[in-house]
């Protein structure tokens, strides 16, 4: 029973003989005893396989896709697979994190190795049992076949397989032989979701568990001055009102969970959610100003000033941009802006914690369990190995649950009141807490010579806590004279990664700007982009270009073909956009029509290059959802502030996209190139706003620059 490392994949295999599992609706009967072949999977005597899904599930569907990869290499029938969510286990798993669209890309090799290793050990065990050379055996969906015609099921040799020496080298399947990867496999939790079974952190209910809610300051820049909790404490069902401080000790390594604008909080603890909610309203708290109380107008003014300021150093400079602009026949200049955004996952923040003298048990929705544990360890003063974290299915995250301060808060509350507790945020608590997508402003300039060739390109970006510009992304590398500049605006409003950070703004505006440049050059927008990619393929400028120009051009060509670009349909206005982020390439064409003077997105065509597609149904779902998310936030959503206080607190005045505003139809095509898989949870979102802006310009004659567009445009309906 020991763990060892495998060459190449870096996977750790742990042997144990655990004997528990949860029943599910499967083809085979649920057994009493299971054989743990390795940390990723267990095989039962009758061939039923349990595969652990290591990473947090946030709606990106890794709980289905990651086990599919294991099942593929193991060579089992998917209907005999049960999937279980693994808890935080840094011994057997690496990178148990949902973020950066990396779960599949970074798990690909080790998940394949896990399945293939187990398959190889089952073959070895069968060879021993049948007393034949292993070379004479093959597998077929959970059955081992000998050349003589004899067969033996995986389950029959699983106990022997678990005692086999772990092979040092493993042959992986040829992707052309994949049977599970590349098919439509339904979300493994779908039956529970549609029946309303408990799955989410907020659904946790444990013996003796109390409910806690926090009250943070009403404004960024305020802090607690005094608390009178006498009325709240006297209310029915209320156990206590306390204050907590979740500041990490000085000198501790900074973690995701430390991002928090409000570390000193008032906490109400009671028996039930409604009782605690009511008592929270009865708190008598006074707040003190601590730092500046910022307003949106301050950010607007400061970001605008930065647009006219040259930074001391350029982030990237190729050629001689100054001379290119001086000698240009035409210069196009546009400035774009976007507001702060809240993540607003539908499940408000929550976490369960039970902290006793020498250990802590935590459970809930978290994208970064490993880092939450580090913070909790230093804040509680417990060693990391005394802290267990179980991940629940998350009711969305979009980056919000990378920042697990709510997990730390639950742990501190439990420690202080000496009881198991579930911390529950209201929507208002969540929306006004911070960790927002920052407000941005970006100015673009393009220089065209007399032959309408792009000779100069200049981008200057500024944002709260950092510029959104990616200096080495397209169109860097396609133009001789290029300049990228960045400014940062400090603020006491906390910001964080929001689905496709920076790309969520940059893609759309870059693609809208290039559309205007193509127009100024008198060129078709797709042809104009393809010309630039030709330059990057044949004679790239600079060496740090962060994209593969051929794959980029590939998705544009594919969407051009599929959407039949160029074949004008009366009444249909088209816009195109393409972007590269999270290692994947997405091009989109929007077909817009005007009905009753309102623009409507009739259809979106998508071409995606994310390498090998694991689960085709969910891959399409991610692209569909991503682009609806992208349209929604560009059109309708904003967080604004007055004297440090958020103007939006709930969905009555924070607008999210609704059914009637979603595209009527979406069609997605994947490039089939056999390349190892890359990100899919985020890349569908960034380009779409560009395609919408470009189609809108055709449909309404109006170009849009300041998000959310609902403030200055006809609303999509």
């Amino acid at each position: 029973m020991k763990a060892s490392a495998l060459g190449g994949g870096g996977m750790m295999i742990g042997f144990s003989w655990l004997a528990s599992c949860k029943p599910g609706e499967q083809a085979a009967d649920i057994p009493k005893e299971w054989f743990n072949v390795n940390a990723f999977l267990k095989i039962e005597k009758n061939g039923l396989v349990t595969i652990m899904s290591p990473n947090p599930e946030i709606g990106q569907n890794v709980k289905t896709a990651m086990p599919m990869i294991v099942a593929e290499e193991l060579d089992v029938d998917w209907k005999n697979v049960i999937v279980e969510q693994a808890g935080l286990n840094t011994v057997d798993y690496t990178r148990q994190l949902a973020g950066g669209s990396q779960s599949i890309r970074q798990g690909w090799q080790s998940l394949r190795m896990a399945g293939a290793t187990a398959r190889r050990m089952l073959l070895e065990a069968a060879a021993k049992q049948l007393e034949v050379p292993v070379e004479e055996l093959t597998t077929d969906s959970g059955v081992i076949k000998h050349t003589s015609g004899k067969t033996v099921g995986y389950g029959e040799v699983a106990s022997v397989a678990a005692t086999m020496v772990i092979p040092e080298e493993i042959e992986l399947k040829d992707p052309k032989d994949f049977k599970i990867i590349g098919t439509d496999v339904g979300n493994v939790d779908a039956p529970k979701i549609v029946n309303g079974e408990p799955l989410f952190g907020l659904d946790i209910d444990k013996e003796g568990m109390l409910i806690a809610m926090i009250q943070h300051p009403p404004s960024f820049g305020m802090k607690l001055k005094s608390l009178d909790a006498s009325k709240a404490k006297a209310m029915p069902g209320i156990k206590d009102v306390i204050t907590i401080n979740t500041n990490v000790p000085e000198g501790a390594e900074e973690q995701w969970s430390d991002v928090n604008a409000f570390n000193e909080l008032v906490v109400v603890v009671g028996n039930t959610t409604w009782e605690v909610m009511k008592a929270k309203k009865a708190l008598n708290i006074t707040w003190d100003q601590d730092t500046k109380l910022e307003s949106s107008i301050d950010h607007e003014v400061a970001l605008s000033d930065l647009m006219n300021k040259k930074p001391e150093e350029a982030t990237r400079k190729d050629g001689n941009p100054t001379s290119a602009f001086k000698n240009a026949a035409k210069v196009v200049e546009r400035t774009y802006s976007a507001p702060f955004l809240a993540h607003n996952p539908m499940e408000p923040m929550n976490f369960y914690a039970n902290v006793t003298a020498d250990k802590a048990e935590l459970e809930g929705p978290i994208q970064t369990p490993e880092y939450l544990r580090k913070t909790v360890a230093v804040v509680l003063g417990l060693p990391e190995d005394k802290i267990d974290i179980m991940m629940t299915r998350m009711g969305g995250g979009f980056g919000r649950r990378l920042y697990g301060h709510f997990g730390t808060e639950a742990a501190v509350i439990s420690q202080k009141i000496n009881a198991p507790v579930k911390l529950v945020y209201t929507r208002e608590d969540d929306m006004t807490q911070g960790t927002y997508r920052p407000a941005y402003k970006v100015k673009y300039r393009a220089a065209l010579d007399k032959n309408n060739k792009l000779t100069g390109f200049h981008v200057r970006g500024a944002g709260v806590h950092g510029s959104p510009v990616f200096a080495n992304r397209f169109p860097a590398g396609t133009v001789d004279n290029y300049l990228a500049e960045d400014h940062r605006l400090d603020s006491n409003i906390s910001t964080g990664a929001w689905r496709a950070p920076r790309s969520n703004f940059m893609a759309g505006i870059e693609q809208a700007f290039l559309d205007e440049v193509a127009e100024a050059a008198g060129k078709d927008p797709i042809d104009f982009r393809l010309e630039l990619f030709d330059r990057a393929i044949n004679d790239p400028v600079g060496e740090k270009n962060d994209y593969d120009a051929a794959r980029y051009a590939g998705v544009l060509k594919l969407v051009k073909e599929k959407a039949n670009w160029g074949a004008d349909t009366p009444g249909v206005h088209r816009g195109v956009s393409a972007y590269y982020c999270h290692n994947s390439y997405v091009a989109q064409v929007v077909d817009m029509v005007m009905e009753n003077d309102k623009p409507i997105v009739k259809k979106v065509w998508c071409a995606v290059d994310c390498g090998i597609v694991i689960n085709t149904s969910n891959a399409r779902n991610q692209i569909e959802g991503g682009l609806i998310d992208g349209i929604g936030h560009t059109m309708y959503s904003a967080m604004t502030f007055k004297d440090g206080q958020p103007d939006q607190r709930n969905f009555d005045n924070y607008r999210l996209i609704k059914h009637a505003e979603a595209p009527l139809e979406i069609e997605t095509f994947f490039v089939d190139n056999g390349i190892d898989p890359t990100g899919l949870g985020e890349p569908g979102l960034p380009p779409i706003s560009g395609a919408v802006m470009n189609a809108m310009a055709k449909a309404t004659g109006k170009r849009l620059y300041n998000q959310p567009f609902v403030n200055e445009a006809l609303v999509l309906g």
Partner: protein, 152 residues
């Protein structure tokens, strides 16, 4: 605090709660039926949708004291074995991403299909417009409702 006898999913359940407690929290904290979700608390997202005598309502804004003897249906009671045409269609179309809003979507769609067994795209968009899906599964929800309408 007061006692209420509630008719939930065909069974009478007694709870002793503050009369202003919203049905959402009665269901989740007292009856332990957690399929009905908390999203906003102010009838703006639809995650907490249940049926009151067959009408889709937002349970976060229905105080327990106003329910009386009306029959309450939650996602757990929509069908006996999880086989309501909408539940089957939701799985078949592979609608959910995070899945959190879907019970509310299904409950709202079930009330729609009761009144309008074969809704048009426009009928669906109008009826479902108060149910937010932050993951953006709207096109699949529409497809699943149409699939369910064809099934039944």
């Amino acid at each position: 605090m007061a006692n209420f006898n509630l008719n939930i999913n065909g069974k009478v359940k007694q709870v002793d709660v503050d009369p202003d407690t919203p049905m959402l929290w009665v269901l989740r904290d007292h009856i332990k039926l957690v399929g009905t979700k908390f999203g906003c608390g102010i009838s703006q997202c639809g995650a907490c949708t249940i049926h009151l005598d067959g009408e889709a309502v937002r349970s976060c804004s229905v105080p327990v004291s106003t329910v009386g003897d009306k029959s309450i249906t939650t996602i757990e009671g929509l069908s006996e074995n999880g086989d309501h045409p909408l539940q089957k269609a939701w799985v078949e179309v592979d609608v959910p991403q995070c899945g959190y809003c879907q019970a509310g979507q299904i409950m709202n769609a079930a009330a729609l299909l009761e009144k309008n067994p074969s809704p048009s795209d426009d009928d669906i968009a109008k009826a479902m417009n108060g149910n937010i899906c932050r993951c953006g599964t709207y096109t699949r929800i529409k497809k699943a409702i149409k699939t369910a309408a064809e099934m039944s």
